[in-house]
Amino acid sequence: MAQTNTGGQGTNGVADESPNMIVYRKMEEVIARMQEEKNGIPIRTVKSFLTKIPSVFSGSDIVQWMTKNLDIEDPVEALHLGTLMAAHGYFFPISDHVLTLKDDGTFYRFQTPYFWPSNCWEPENTDYAVYLCKRTMQNKARLELADYEAESLARLQRAFARKWEFIFMQAEAQAKVDKKRDKIERKILDSQERAFWDVHRPVSVYGLQNDIRTHSPTHTPAPEAKQPTEEELQEQITFWQLQLDRHRLKMSKVAESLIGYTEQYLEYDPCLTPPDPSNPWISDDTTLWELEASKEPGQQRVKRWAFGIDEVLKDPVGREQFLKFLESEFSSENLRFWLAVQEVKKRPIREVPTRVQEIWQEFLAPGAPSAINVDSKSYDKTTQNVKDPGRYAFEDAQEHIYKLMKSDSYSRFIRSSAYQELLQAKKKVNSTFFKLFSMLQSKTYQDFEPTAHL
């Protein structure tokens, strides 16, 4: 049968393996543990009517083993993982073509490693035809073809009409070999072969099974890594040296910072603190979004501006209020410069040179109407940059101004009465009133019955 080496298995072993192969190996590790004599799943022969069912275990056995040995708390999770392993064909229900795991007394059997997906099987239709043909030759009730298999056989007979004799011969030869096997061994091998085909030619009800083995075109096997050149090695060395010179923080400090951040924003995280009045996705009510879009910032939103200058700068209402405050002090040129530089970086490259000149004239040129104060080093650099203006012409100046705003204007803004008023006095507009108001304005009147409210 056709086996291909599509997995990109290099001689390096694990390093070259495709993503599918990595998962196969992990599943196989689990299977190996399941098959351990001491701590594995108890495999037994079950006596039923006049026959023996060899080498089986129940679905519940699998679920129990997984819950105990794979650190799983919820049997639903064990069931889900188990179903995926069954879908890959690592174990299969002996009386069903559908490869799922059931948490009950249903009997399962392990697949033989020969048929494992990690062997990169890509069986052809001719192989399937030989298999189905062989099944019809064996006079066993348990080997009778299911409806969909009979249909497949009929289709294949039409498709391979010319070489059917050859297929028939192969089937005969295989049947002959099978006949020689021990009865119990045959039972097991027959079921394993059937399970193999359940993976590669699934009954269409479970059509998605095929996709398990698909991988996206992004995961093509990596080409042989070229030996680095002298230049590349020099670059690497420079890079490592730069990295070594970097200033690093201790883990304890970093941990405190991460914890501090999440605690500060906990009340703003809708996943952890239900938003007020409600989460639109849960309540189907968009009031939250309408409130946020309004020009009246709520108390919680205003409080956030005090967390740091970035919060004010990224909230359009915050920027507006900050600008208003600075204008009242006749000291808005810094913020206006900063905003203008942000703006120029967002423009198409074609517009940049003109905008840079405009900003230079307004804020930095001798006699500029909104003169800003930058240190002489940044000023000199900027003067040079403006001669050949790119998007980052004002980078140094902008950084200087940002630091200035952060330490000076921003702290004054937060301490200002204008900000404090916004923070304290402005209670949020009563939400029911707002709801009614917005309903009156909304486009659809389906939910609004005027008579009920009057």
Partner: protein
Amino acid sequence: MRSPLIPEMATQEVQLNETLAHLKSESESLKSKLEEERAKLHDVELHQVAEKVEGLGQFVMKTRRTLKGHGNKVLCMDWCKDKRRIVSSSQDGKVIVWDAFTTNKEHAVTMPCTWVMACAYAPSGCAVACGGLDNKCSVYPLSLDKNENLAAKKKSVAMHTNYLSACSFTNSDMQILTSSGDGTCALWDVESGQLLQSFHGHAADVLCLDLAPSETGNTFVSGGCDKKANVWDMRSGQCIQSFETHESDINSVRYYPSGDAFASGSDDATCRLYDLRADREVAIYSKESIIFGVSSVDFSLSGRLLFGGYNDYTINVWDVLKGTRVSILFGHENRVSTLRVSPDGTAFSTGSWDHTLRIWA
């Protein structure tokens, strides 16, 4: 190696090989020295310090909307800044813009290629970008006129020499950042299609990228098939930090909301947190029972929760500080290929190979 015909050439070749070997060993010893230095500051584990933090209560998140309409695997999605619209792209070349709140489809475009692996919403909400096996990133302005053929106004912006794996607008409709199977990332001017900056350093396909959430910053992080996560300076094109601890391809990278750290998801079935100030990996999110790869990760608004979409059809929700799994969400019937939290954090969306998108809250 062919034997040199001329003795001087032989000596030169030997000298070159000696130089290369010498440089290689120098590079490697510097790399190990860096690991040593990084390890020196590792005085405590994040989850140890986080023991004092209150535990998260019972966690309930459910599918609140299911978006059906794609005829094939959904590969990518992105939120509009208006917190309710999304754009999604699929294997059959279809790109759809939805109002996820009402589940209505508002626009649809058919790309001339299959496997549209990347799509992004413009900050203004007036355009979308997408690309995939066509090696390009194209921008489509969204027309208010429902009858207008969007494909007619298509603008080709980025050109790579291999598939487009991810794209993102910067804080403007005028620039797009792309990553590609050709091993590079690039910044483009949308209007002219001009390449503004390219980023070289990955040794294999780059699969994902994310822009730093700063008002002043000019950095982004990328992850690739070389198992590396690189942080880049957009202005100079230089790689400023690099992390290599994953055991397989990195499918997704996402910044922690403060911008001081980022998370990654990989085919090695783990998510990891890297802090830029500590300059190292500071947490691993994994479980013995999780053996399928992570396709996509994103943080909740406060950074306390990390959502991971996995190839085993599930979503695992992690407590970022304590390192434990808070919840496992079932629902999709095939791989979860993409996951993004909405701009205001009220929900997150997932796209799957089962042809659907789901909104969870």
